[in-house]
């Protein structure tokens, strides 16, 4: 009795808690945003909310906490979303459950309702998207539904905010009241068994006995483990039971029982408009005929993808540059030189980035002019270190946000689900599902939004694997490394074609990503691939408000990162590159005496297998130092070449592309072509920039996975670099590499078969 009193006290002390439960894509998050004014992100993609989120509703007599749970189809224990929701409802005992139902899809949505009803908690049903039902000419009688189900039903439109006040008022009325669970299986053949088990559970003082009883009869994994003593009872019943269709398959019998009850009792509340022809194509069907067409589906997808990248990154927008008779846009001599284009016209994304750079330069110059009388190291730290580092990162914000927004529009409209449908076949070969494609492709633009986008992946393993390989899809900021070094190779050695080198490096990245995924899927991330059974939502217009909320949320998040982790690492790297071991400030041109240079020299031997280690002469360490500065932003790799080229003392008159500086470095260090290629590959595959690292950390399910991700990046880049250098320098080493690979593959196969046999034996022994 004592514990009961304690519980009661807690209820008085704590604000009331309402949980939003419903199918994916039924408008839960939209309602959550509407009630709380929060910035939670919604999308027209089943499964956008991965964790739960909380917000406050202030229009009831007291402030109510609203918890948005991930969308689920059932309370079975098979997906993380279902487990999160189920545990929340059972363990944290919300005062009321608001069950949201997509009125346009009544039957399947009510299936979850029949399960929630079995829990002893107050439930209210929000009949969402009622406006869409009306539009199609059908009608749903909320009053009839309320009478049949036995809990309040309120028709709402979460999008327009209609009916939400009534919903919350009625929810507040029933909150905290006692309601006994009710099951629609009462009239089924299993009702006796369910009742008996429920009584037995009640006898053991277990809360929500009816819910647990039904799940136990279904042989739900979690329940079977928790209530072993009662299994005998079920087996006894099974031995005397026989159903004509299902035999003793109770799981099927229960699922069937729920749907039968729904169509018999609840579906009567729905009156279809007799005039609407069922065989007529809906708007969604018409759009789908084009976008998921057997032949045009994939070309359409590629076209849309191209359009997005063109809009965000192109420097020759719509290819009209050549058509311009005169150069109207480059504005030479002004502060805006090149912002709107040079030769061609910049795309909106490139213009925004240019404007951001102008703004940052303006701020940096302003600060520098204020500091003319300060010591050199103060100016250096503030202008080059802090502001330089920040502007390298911040100038990408417009493009990152624009890219994220365009992909969000595709998500909100429902097209992303179709992309998964179109491409699933290709990705399944590598153990991924069709949904993983989008984040990977976004990686070619920028890893940050790409990693954020992995939230749409249902399977946790798939999500982690995708985040890990996203940096291998070489992003926009890594392109300068490719062009500068391949240009340098052509210039110094007089052989090869810079473009071919650049393209092949992209291919190296993609191949590495594929191999890495296959390797992870066969070793550390084994387990059945998540079944691809997914709802294709109707096409909808994206909501402007929800898009803006998302942009604002992400911008805030990114800026927060820029001013914390990124700023800190920028300052550290600036210090070690501008101070010598005896703590004296160094000019840019003296960087070769810095702590960082010393550190570079120290760890240089480690990179011998990659070709830029001990075998290089005096200036070999510059490659290591520039790789380290590249951790802030990948553009820094080439920028550091420029700075260090000045240290060598030669008077380089290089262009902005850094090719001349690179060529100088090549001469000074005596590095070979294979080693240079290995260096590009290393930078492409190793730990990405700080912004991407911070994002990866946020998207990983736990710290351990994040730490292993860092290890994974370092190891993969080291191995790929080594292979490239070895095979490039001595072609016959390819046989050694292939032999080692074959050994690894054989080892994995043997290990996996052994594990399988062992599992099988264990099962046999148990029996």
């Amino acid at each position: 009795m004592k514990s009961f009193d304690k519980n009661e006290l807690m209820i008085i002390a704590k604000p009331k808690k309402f949980a939003l439960v419903g199918n994916p894509n039924c408008g839960k998050t939209t309602l959550f945003n509407n009630l709380t004014g929060s910035t939670a992100h919604t999308g027209n993609w089943p499964g956008v909310t991965v964790d739960r989120r909380e917000g406050e509703y202030k229009k009831c007599p007291e402030t109510v906490t609203i918890v948005d749970l991930p969308g689920i189809y059932s309370l079975s224990p098979y997906t993380p979303e279902e487990v999160v929701s189920r545990n929340f409802i059972l363990d944290e005992k919300p005062d009321c459950i608001i069950n949201i139902i997509d009125a346009t899809n009544l039957e399947r949505n009510l299936y979850l309702t029949t399960q929630i009803m079995e829990i002893d908690v107050p439930v209210i049903i929000a009949l969402n998207m009622i406006d869409e039902v009306k539009k199609s000419g059908d009608t749903i009688d909320a009053a009839v539904l309320e009478k049949k189900i036995g809990v309040p039903v309120v028709a709402i439109s979460a999008l327009k905010g209609e009916g939400t006040t009534e919903l919350m008022d009625r929810a507040y009325e029933i909150a905290g009241q006692k309601r006994d669970g009710f099951t629609v299986l009462e009239q089924s053949k299993l009702s006796h068994l369910i009742n008996d088990v429920a009584i037995a559970l009640k006898g053991q003082d277990i809360e929500n006995p009816l819910f647990h009883a039904v799940k136990l009869v279904e042989s739900d994994e979690l329940e079977v483990a928790a209530h072993k003593p009662l299994l005998g009872m079920i087996d006894n019943f099974k031995s005397t039971f026989q159903d004509d269709i299902f035999g003793v398959d109770f799981e099927a019998l229960i699922a069937d029982g729920r749907y039968k009850y729904i169509s018999k009792n609840y579906s009567t509340a729905l009156t279809r408009n007799s005039k609407t022809d069922k065989s007529k194509l809906t708007k969604s069907d018409k759009i789908d005929r084009v976008l998921t067409h057997r032949i045009w589906g994939i070309p359409m997808f590629l076209l849309i993808l191209f359009a997005i990248f063109h809009l965000v990154f192109s420097e020759n927008f719509l290819f009209i540059g050549a058509a311009l008779g005169k150069d109207w846009v480059s504005l030479p001599g002004t502060a805006f030189e090149g912002v709107f284009g040079a030769g061609g016209i910049n795309s909106p994304g490139a213009i925004l980035q240019g404007l951001m750079e102008v703004l940052m330069t303006w701020i940096t110059d302003g600060v520098a002019s204020l500091l003319v009388n300060s010591p050199a190291w103060v100016t250096g730290l503030l202008c080059d270190g802090i502001l330089g580092g920040l502007s390298a990162v911040l100038s990408f914000i417009p493009q990152i946000l624009l890219l994220l927004m365009l992909f969000s529009i595709l998500e909100d409209t429902g097209y992303m689900a179709r992309v998964a449908f179109i491409l699933d076949r290709i990705l399944r070969r590598f153990g991924l599902s069709g949904r993983a494609f989008m984040p990977m492709i976004m990686g070619f633009g920028c890893s940050v939004p790409a990693m954020i986008n992995t939230r749409t992946l249902a399977d946790e393993n798939e999500r982690v694997a995708t985040v890990r390989v996203i940096p291998f899809f070489s992003c926009g900021a890594k392109l300068p490394i490719l062009t500068a070094i391949s240009g340098g190779i052509v210039m110094s050695f007089g052989i090869g074609n810079a473009d071919i080198i650049t393209y092949s490096m992209y291919v190296v990245g993609i191949v590495t990503a594929i191999l890495a995924v296959v390797l992870m899927k066969t070793t550390t991330m084994k387990g059945d691939a998540a079944p691809f059974i997914m709802e294709l939502p109707n096409y909808r217009l994206p909501q402007f408000k929800s898009l803006m909320l998302l942009m604002w949320d992400k911008a805030k998040h990114f800026i927060q990162k820029a001013f914390t982790i990124i700023l800190a690492s920028t300052i550290i790297i600036w210090f070690v590159s501008h101070f010598s071991f005896d703590w004296k400030f160094l000019e840019d041109s003296q960087m070769n005496n810095s702590i960082l240079a010393g550190f570079g020299k120290l760890i240089q031997p480690l990179f011998t297998p990659l070709g830029f280690g001990s075998q290089l002469n005096e200036w070999g360490w510059v490659f290591i130092v520039s790789a380290i500065t590249g951790l802030i932003a990948k553009e820094n790799v080439v920028a550091t070449f420029g700075t260090l080229a000045a240290c060598i003392g030669a008077n380089v008159v290089g262009g902005a592309d850094g090719i001349a500086e690179t060529a100088l470095m090549i001469q000074a260090s005596g590095i070979t072509i294979p080693a240079l290629i290995a260096f590009i590959a290393f930078n492409m595959i190793t730990i990405p920039c700080m912004a991407a690292v911070a994002t990866a950390k946020a998207e990983m399910p736990n710290k351990k996975k994040f730490k292993w991700t860092l290890v994974f990046w370092i190891c993969t880049s080291y191995i790929v670099g080594t292979i490239i250098y070895l095979v490039g320098s001595w072609w016959w080493t390819i046989f050694i590499v292939l032999a080692v690979m074959a050994l690894v593959v054989a080892g994995i196969i043997i290990y996996n078969t052994k594990a399988k046999i062992f599992k099988f034996k264990n099962k046999k022994d148990k029996k």
Partner: protein, 80 residues
């Protein structure tokens, strides 16, 4: 006539008779409304022939051929 969902042609209709398969997949199918008695319309196939799109309980569901081969249906003859 009975056949598996994976053998259905585009535009064919059927009533589900039986759902087999490994626990997780079967459960997921049940939860999505793929239960005996439900009526299914084979809507389309993806450009590479797999996955499939079906209409069930008046919504669109996509699933792979592997999963579709777990589902047996009684074909509804449209001519009748």
């Amino acid at each position: 006539m009975q056949k598996k969902l994976s053998e259905f042609k585009i535009g064919e209709r059927g009533t589900i008779v039986k759902v087999v398969g490994e626990g997780k997949v079967r459960r997921r199918l049940f939860d999505m409304g793929v239960t005996p008695g439900a009526e299914v319309l084979m809507r389309k196939k993806a450009p590479l022939g797999d996955p499939l799109e079906i209409n069930i309980r008046s919504y669109e569901l996509t699933l792979r051929k592997d999963e579709a081969s777990c589902i047996t249906l009684e074909v509804i003859d449209e001519k009748l």
